[in-house]
Every structure is written in structure tokens, then in C-alpha cells.
């Protein structure tokens, strides 16, 4: 346990000393800013047209300046944007050891590699959760400033719970990208795979098989105010994906030749 605490301390120190938390936070803030922009337009369409925010041809059908709609779209944004941002965090935490040439200092040490890896995964999870909390708080602030309607306690509780589940599912879903960062010894492979996964998820959802594609599950969960049409197998697939990421990364660190 002491080894794990030390390993977590090390990973936290590396993360907090870098600029990555700032960059990922700024990147993630694009989502509530974009959403708030649309909420503002839905709330004040005439004013938005008059000041030139939107053109006369803008199609505003389908949206509403309400808390349920806002939080629902926010969940979708986290489900899709989260894959990109959380996998960026994961790619950096794992890939940097190869890019910076520091991997060798983690290998022949009296701390089990499992502890070093577990600490990395814990920091990725914590970092991703903090990003989600930040995004949620900023979104609440924007929603309040715009003055969205239908803001009942039940709406907030349900919205919060949905976002928490979506964030957790997405965090578990990005664990395999640690394996790709290790396999590719850097950032390019995991980021490429992330892009591919997002594109494939869109196709699979359109084809109606999204329930069985783990990276589509968080987005489907947000539909119909949480749970969507998911079945137990969908959650098990996400769990299996996360475990596959953990074990694949461990075995790769344990048995692959480390030449860097």
C-alpha cells in the first residue's frame, strides 16, 4: 500500500507540475461554452439575429432553452468529447514516459510495476473526474446566467446522476488507450485509435448496434434522460473493455522488451 501511495504521489506531482491539466481544462471548457452559446440563441433568438450571432437562415428547430434539454446535451457532449479529452490525458500519462525517455527509471526499481501502472490509472481517473466536475459547475453557471427554465430539483439530481454515470463509463472506456500509448511508445497511436473509435461509434449507432460497442454506450446512456435502451450486456462490455485495457497494459509493461 505504501508503494502505491508513493506511486500515486509521483504521478500527481508529474501531472500538477506540467501544463497538461491547464490545456485539458481549456480544451474541455469549449463544450460548455459552445452549449451556452446555443442556449443563449434558443432563449433569445430574435436578439441573436439582430446582433448577427446567427443568420436569418439559422435552423433552431429541435432545441429548447430548458435545463432538461441543456443537461441532456451536456451528457452527450461529455460522452463524445470525454473520449477525446480523457484519452488525451491517458495518452500523456502513459506515453510521456516513452517520449521523455523516463520509462527506464521505472523498470528496475523495488516497486512492483503493477503499482506504478495502477497509480497512473488512478490519476487518469481522478483527473478526468475533476475535468467533468469543472465542466459541470461551469455549465451550471452558464445555465443560471442565461436563465434556463424548468430547473427543478429533480431535473438537477437526474442530470447530475446521468453525467456522473456517463463520465465513469467514459473513463473506464479509455483504459485501453494506455495499452496503445505503451505499444506505440508515445501519443500518436492512442490518439489515432481514439479518432477511429469515435468515427466507428457514430457509424455503429446509426446502424443500430451501438448497445454492443462500448465506446457508444455512454452516449446512448444519456438518451431518454439516462439509461436509454441499454441492456446489462452493454455495461458488461464497458467493464470488459476497461479490464482489457488494464490487463493488456500490465502484461505489455511486464513482458515486452523495453528498449527506451
Amino acid at each position: 500500500m505504501h508503494d502505491l501511495t508513493n506511486a500515486v504521489w509521483i504521478e500527481l506531482r508529474k501531472a500538477t507540475r506540467s501544463r497538461m491539466p491547464l490545456f485539458t481544462a481549456l480544451g474541455f471548457l469549449v463544450l460548455p461554452c459552445g452549449l451556452a452559446f446555443f442556449m443563449f440563441i434558443y432563449k433569445y433568438p430574435t436578439f441573436a439575429r439582430n446582433i448577427g450571432l446567427i443568420s436569418a437562415k439559422a435552423n433552431l428547430v429541435g432545441g429548447a432553452a430548458t435545463w432538461p434539454y441543456y443537461l441532456g446535451v451536456l451528457g452527450q457532449a461529455i460522452a463524445i468529447g470525454g473520449i477525446a479529452v480523457f484519452s488525451l490525458v491517458e495518452s500523456w500519462v502513459f506515453g510521456r514516459e516513452f517520449v521523455d525517455g523516463t520509462l527506464k527509471d521505472l523498470l528496475a526499481v523495488p516497486v512492483a510495476r503493477a503499482n506504478i501502472l495502477l497509480a497512473k490509472f488512478l490519476v487518469v481517473a481522478l483527473w478526468s473526474l475533476l475535468l467533468t466536475v469543472m465542466l459541470f459547475l461551469v455549465s451550471l453557471l452558464f445555465g443560471a446566467v442565461i436563465g434556463l427554465s424548468q430547473g427543478t430539483a429533480e431535473v438537477f439530481w437526474q442530470g447530475t446522476a446521468t453525467l456522473a454515470v456517463v463520465a465513469c463509463l467514459t473513463i473506464v472506456n479509455v483504459f485501453p488507450f494506455a495499452f496503445f500509448a505503451s505499444l506505440g511508445r508515445g501519443y500518436l497511436l492512442p490518439m489515432g485509435v481514439t479518432l477511429l473509435v469515435i468515427v466507428i461509434a457514430n457509424f455503429i449507432v446509426v446502424a443500430g448496434w451501438g448497445n454492443y460497442f462500448p465506446w457508444a454506450v455512454p452516449a446512448l446512456y444519456t438518451q431518454a434522460g439516462g439509461k436509454g435502451n441499454l441492456e446489462a450486456a452493454s455495461y458488461l462490455l464497458v467493464l470488459f473493455t476497461g479490464l482489457a485495457g488494464l490487463t493488456g497494459t500490465y502484461f505489455w509493461w511486464r513482458f515486452a522488451d523495453q528498449n527506451r
Binding site: A7, K14, L107, A108, R113, Q258, N259
Partner: protein
């Protein structure tokens, strides 16, 4: 005898390329063992196999009486290492990088960080980010990480890289002190024979993955080729006179006679007297000892500038 490092038939193959083959090493406790070879000879691959970073294709290795297996936690609490270019976390300070290294070696006292900073001459840079260090100071930081937890065995891969002459002397003295006073064993990989010959007790020469020769430093001195070089106005007459007197001489391309027999090397004065007597007085008589680099290149089959006619 206690052997901190012992390998049996150790080897590594990458596809069709054999990086290391049939390597059987025995390094004694408290010894500085220099592992000498050109770039790509297999030095770093060997060190990585000894550190459990690379799986051997053949054979086995024991370090501090522990059989090395990839991913194992033993025996690293007593091992320090610097493999290839030293890298540190660029956004962390020198102090923080060493604190990271300390926490990766549980049981190392927090005060060890301050001590090693002072010992390695890094006090002025303790709060500086590692990414801004000069090559020499980055090397010092790498060495500090290797020495932080007072290991019994040190693997150092080109430890003098990037250091200025004063730094090289300083590190040499530090390593000698560690072996003499604390009985630390040092496995030192280098491609500079002159440098390691001042430090090591034993030298192993590796070339294209094969261990060509292992010897004590004294033996190295004995093995180095000596020759007597001689110049005269009439070289052919001098050569004939020497041959007649039983001194075989060879004409070199640069207009010099070369004698390598022991009698000539130990009595160059006799050669000079002989040539004066036959009327071909020498203009130059010089006993030249092969330098370490030439010896090394001769041994690995890359004859360094020998110019026989």
C-alpha cells in the same frame, strides 16, 4: 567467491540480428568491471538484460544472487543504474526528480536527496527544472539518481558522457571511493578504453555481440604492442645491417624501419651503436608503445592506422 553479476551463455536476438551472443560474465564484489565496445557492440543490450528490461533469447543472468526475470521487484533495492542518455522529468526540478527516485526506492531516507545533491555538485541547480539543465548537469542528475539509495551494485552506461574534464575526474574519484570505502561493485560500459583503463580492475571487450577478451588492467598493459621506429639516410643499408646482426626490421610506407622483437625494444642503444659502426648512423630511434585506442581497434579488427609497406 561472491559474484554480484554472473551470466551464463546470455544472448539476445532481434529478428535476424543477433545483438549479444554467448555472453558469460563473472564480476566479483567490489570490482570495477569495464565493458568496452564500439557503438552497437551490444553493451546497452547486455545492461538492459541484466536490469530485466529486456528478455534474453538465450541463457540466464544473476544479479546479486537473484535470477533476473522481467518485471521482478528483486534485487533492485540494492542496484543503481544509468542507462544511455540520462532522462529526467523536464517539468520537475532537480530536487523533485530525485524525490521521485527516492520514492521509487522505499526505505531511502528523505535526507538522502539533499546529501546526493551536495555530493554531485548540484546544489546551485536544486530548484531548477531538469529540462533546462546543461548536458553535463543532466548527466550529474542521472548519476545522482543512480547513487541516491546507496546501492551495492552500479550499472553505468557511458557515465562520462557530456561531462567536462574536471567532471570526468570527479566522477572517476567518486567511483573509486565507492568501491574502496563501501565495497560497491561497478559495471561500467564505455567505448573509451583510455578512460576505463584508469578506473577498472578488469576489462571485457565486446564486439558485434561477442565477448572477445576479458583481462585484468595489468594484462592489458602487457598486451599492448610496442615497436622501435628508426630513421636513417640510407634505410635499405640500415635494414640489411640490422638483418645481418639478427634484428629483423620492416620497412614502413612513411620511410621508417620498424622493429618489434624484444631484444631491439629492450636495447635500442645497441641498435644505435651497430648502425654507427656500419656507417649508417640513425637520425631517429624511438620506442613507441601502442596507445590504448590502437590496441582496442586492433583487437576488434579495425586496424587503427597501421601502415605497413
Amino acid at each position: 567467491m561472491n559474484l554480484p553479476i554472473e551470466t551464463v551463455d546470455l544472448g539476445k536476438r532481434y529478428g535476424k540480428v543477433i545483438a549479444v551472443k554467448h555472453l558469460s560474465l563473472r564480476v566479483a564484489e567490489g570490482e570495477i568491471y569495464a565493458f568496452l565496445g564500439l557503438n552497437g557492440a551490444g553493451k546497452t543490450t547486455t545492461i538492459r538484460m541484466l536490469l530485466g528490461m529486456i528478455k534474453p533469447t538465450w541463457g540466464s543472468a544473476q544479479v546479486l544472487n537473484t535470477r533476473i526475470r522481467p518485471g521482478s521487484r528483486e534485487p533492485w533495492a540494492s542496484v543503481g543504474y544509468l542507462v544511455e542518455t540520462p532522462h529526467s522529468y523536464p517539468e520537475l526540478t532537480v530536487f523533485e526528480n530525485l524525490e521521485v527516485a527516492r520514492r521509487l526506492h522505499p526505505g531511502t531516507a528523505p535526507e538522502a536527496v539533499g546529501r546526493i545533491i551536495e555530493r554531485m555538485g548540484l546544489s546551485a541547480y536544486a530548484d531548477r527544472r531538469a529540462g533546462t539543465l546543461s548536458l553535463g548537469n543532466a548527466q550529474r542528475l542521472g548519476l545522482a539518481k543512480a547513487l541516491l539509495h546507496t546501492p551495492r551494485l552500479l550499472f553505468l552506461d557511458e557515465p562520462a558522457n557530456g561531462l567536462d574534464p574536471a567532471g570526468i575526474v570527479e566522477i572517476r574519484e567518486l567511483l573509486l571511493e565507492l568501491t574502496r570505502e563501501q565495497g560497491v561493485t561497478v559495471f561500467l560500459a564505455s567505448h573509451i578504453l583510455a578512460e576505463v583503463s584508469r578506473l577498472a580492475q578488469r576489462i571485457g571487450i565486446i564486439h558485434q555481440g561477442h565477448l572477445l577478451q576479458e583481462m585484468d588492467v595489468d594484462e592489458l598493459e602487457r598486451n599492448r604492442r610496442r615497436r622501435l621506429l628508426l630513421r636513417a639516410r640510407d634505410l635499405e643499408a640500415a635494414r640489411l645491417a640490422l638483418a645481418t646482426a639478427g634484428y629483423p626490421a620492416e620497412m614502413l610506407r612513411d620511410g621508417t624501419l620498424e622493429l618489434t622483437d624484444l631484444r631491439s625494444l629492450e636495447h635500442p642503444d645497441d641498435i644505435a651503436s651497430l648502425l654507427v659502426q656500419v656507417g649508417v648512423p640513425p637520425m631517429q630511434v624511438l620506442v613507441e608503445e601502442e596507445d590504448l585506442e590502437q590496441y582496442f581497434l586492433r583487437l576488434v579488427g579495425m586496424n587503427g592506422g597501421q601502415n605497413h609497406a
